[in-house]
């Protein structure tokens, strides 16, 4: 354990990457990324398309293996682990394109998540009768989807599916939640409300979050910290105010958003 080797140091960060490198063909999607994510904060990642934001999430969750570099979760090297083992260690993920069980209902998606979390094995117990049902209904309520609880998700709107996707991840009771554009499918009039609820829920459950976001308004209001991604690495990092007023950011990132 790294922590043991450094008895005098502060406890290791929740998630740390060291020198991550990955290339797709000729494109360097992660260019020696070293980054630390502290517990208890909501970190927003911004940057132009193709800057490597999603790739970063993919590496941190084990979906992609870096060609070089390592990922540590509280000091433990999780680089070689498959996503499921990283999830088991408390890192959940919501996706840009919702990853749901399309033939199941919204509620069932959550129940399956709860069953996965609890490791339910009884072959004779009905999924709908598991004791986590109320908890899951509450989660659905939290993302304003109670009324579609019994609808098959393939019939739902993109926005609803994004929210359920996040709820499925929350149902795992993670310590760290990685989200890829959580509000991208949500109507712009509701974005802030949704983020409000989400951030509240995260704080209540003590979940650290990292979210990729394009909407600077959301970033400004809901992030504790912002990292600006460009050409496969972190270009800048700071509080929302510092970042959003930075001239490079205004030129490279926000300018693009406006365009």
């Amino acid at each position: 354990m790294n922590a043991m080797n450094r008895p005098d140091a502060a406890p290791p960060p929740l998630l740390e990457t060291r020198d991550l490198l990955i290339k797709f063909g000729g494109v360097t999607a992660a260019d020696h990324v070293s980054m630390q994510i502290e517990a208890g904060k909501n970190l927003a990642i911004i940057g132009p398309n193709g800057a490597g934001k999603t790739t970063f999430l993919n590496i941190c969750t084990g979906w992609l293996k870096p060609h070089k570099g390592k990922v540590f979760l509280e000091g433990e090297d999780i680089t070689p682990l498959p996503p499921r083992k990283i999830v088991r260690r408390g890192v959940a993920r919501a996706f840009q394109i919702p990853q749901l069980f399309t033939e199941h209902t919204a509620l069932e998606n959550l129940l399956i998540s709860a069953a996965a979390r609890e490791g339910l094995r009884n072959p004779l117990q009905n999924l709908h009768n598991i004791s986590q049902r109320d908890e899951m209904m509450h989660l659905l309520d939290l993302v304003h989807c109670t009324d579609v609880a019994d609808r098959v998700v393939v019939e739902l709107s993109e926005g609803q599916r994004k929210l359920i996707d996040i709820a499925v991840a929350l149902a795992l009771k993670p310590r760290l939640l990685l989200m890829d554009e959580p509000t991208s499918g949500v109507a712009s009039s509701q974005k802030h409300e949704v983020m409000e609820i989400l951030v509240g829920a995260l704080a209540e459950a003590g979940v650290t979050s990292v979210f990729v976001e394009h909407d600077m308004g959301i970033v400004e209001r809901h992030a504790d910290e912002v990292a600006v991604w460009n050409a496969g690495n972190v270009q800048l990092r700071g509080t929302p105010r510092e970042i959003l007023e930075h001239p490079d950011v205004i030129r490279d990132v926000i300018g693009e958003e406006v365009a």
Partner: protein, 301 residues
């Protein structure tokens, strides 16, 4: 194993591989373009053989030269492709392109069952044998062992010709390019005005002609009898899966692997010869799940 036996096994393996390749070629072409694993391919193979035997028998009974059996093979193959392959695609497969792969596979399985009985109704149950094409080319002796020119040379040449011919056709002709474009992205191809239905029909007919040609070429070397299609289909499945579905050059390599594996097994340990195709398939897929030459598609999230 001394060199002579090694070479003998090599010759046997190649001539066997050539025939298997010709049949597998049609199967893998159809799969590559249409994403359909055509179980009825085996029946088309058998019917190609039956048709050749009948036509050749008829021509010979008129007192014409046995050399005519060569063009008759081609005619039988085309007949199979057009008269059977065409309607199968047009009447059946076209209705199920939006259905799951497995249902498509079951449709071809149903066609297979029907064609098996059609063969029996048309040609009866007695085996046919028509070796005039084989006899017309004579023999060649290597290391004191006599081979037929037909099996050792003609089949290999035809197989090579088809391999390179099909490659050229797909890459350097307009129709070939249309087929490749449709294979890569059907919707995009349609949006630029390619008639995907016609491309599929054409591809299926070509695939069926290849199945028929395989049967036609096999006919002088073997007894034509009910059930011959079922065996061939399993074998060519093994070739196609080993190669990677839709891989034309790969099918040639896989056919050679399986052909050589089988013939060496007969020299070294005859008891396992029949296991060889499946063992090779399992071993290859164990190491490379997508087949020797297949490409794996990573899922985007």
């Amino acid at each position: 194993m001394d060199l002579t036996i090694f070479l003998l096994a090599l010759f046997d393996g190649i001539s066997y591989a050539a025939l298997v390749f010709i049949v597998a070629l049609g199967l893998t072409l159809i799969f590559g373009v249409m994403r359909i694993l055509n179980v009825a391919h085996g029946s088309l193979y058998a019917i190609g053989a039956y048709a050749t035997v009948s036509l050749t028998g008829f021509v010979l009974s008129l007192g014409l030269a046995p050399v005519l059996s060569f063009p008759l093979m081609l005619i039988s193959a085309v007949l199979v492709g057009v008269l059977l392959g065409g309607p199968i695609e047009w009447l059946l497969l076209r209705r199920i392109y939006d259905k799951p792969e497995v249902l498509q596979l079951l449709v071809t399985f149903a066609v297979f069952m029907i064609l098996e009985d059609v063969q029996r109704l048309v040609w009866g149950t007695q085996p046919y044998f028509q070796a005039s094409a084989l006899q017309a080319l004579g023999n060649v002796t290597l290391f004191g062992v006599t081979y037929t020119v037909y099996q050792l040379i003609l089949l290999s040449v035809v197989a090579m010709g088809l391999l390179f011919g099909l490659r050229f056709f797909l890459r350097h002709t307009v129709i070939g390019k249309l087929i490749l474009a449709t294979t890569e992205d059907r919707e995009a191809a349609q949006s630029i005005g390619i008639d995907a239905d016609r491309v599929f029909l054409f591809t299926f007919i070509v695939g069926a002609v290849l199945a028929g040609l395989g049967g036609a070429l096999a006919s002088p070397t073997t007894s034509i009898l009910p059930g011959m299609g079922a065996d061939m289909i399993v074998l060519s499945f093994a070739v196609v899966a080993t190669a990677g579905l839709g891989q034309i050059e790969g099918a040639a390599v896989a056919a050679l692997l399986i052909g050589l594996g089988r013939s060496f097994a007969i020299y070294v340990w005859p008891e396992v010869a029949v296991l060889v195709p499946y063992l090779i398939m399992v071993l290859v897929l164990l190491v490379r799940p997508q087949g020797l030459f297949g490409t794996s598609v990573a899922r985007k999230i």
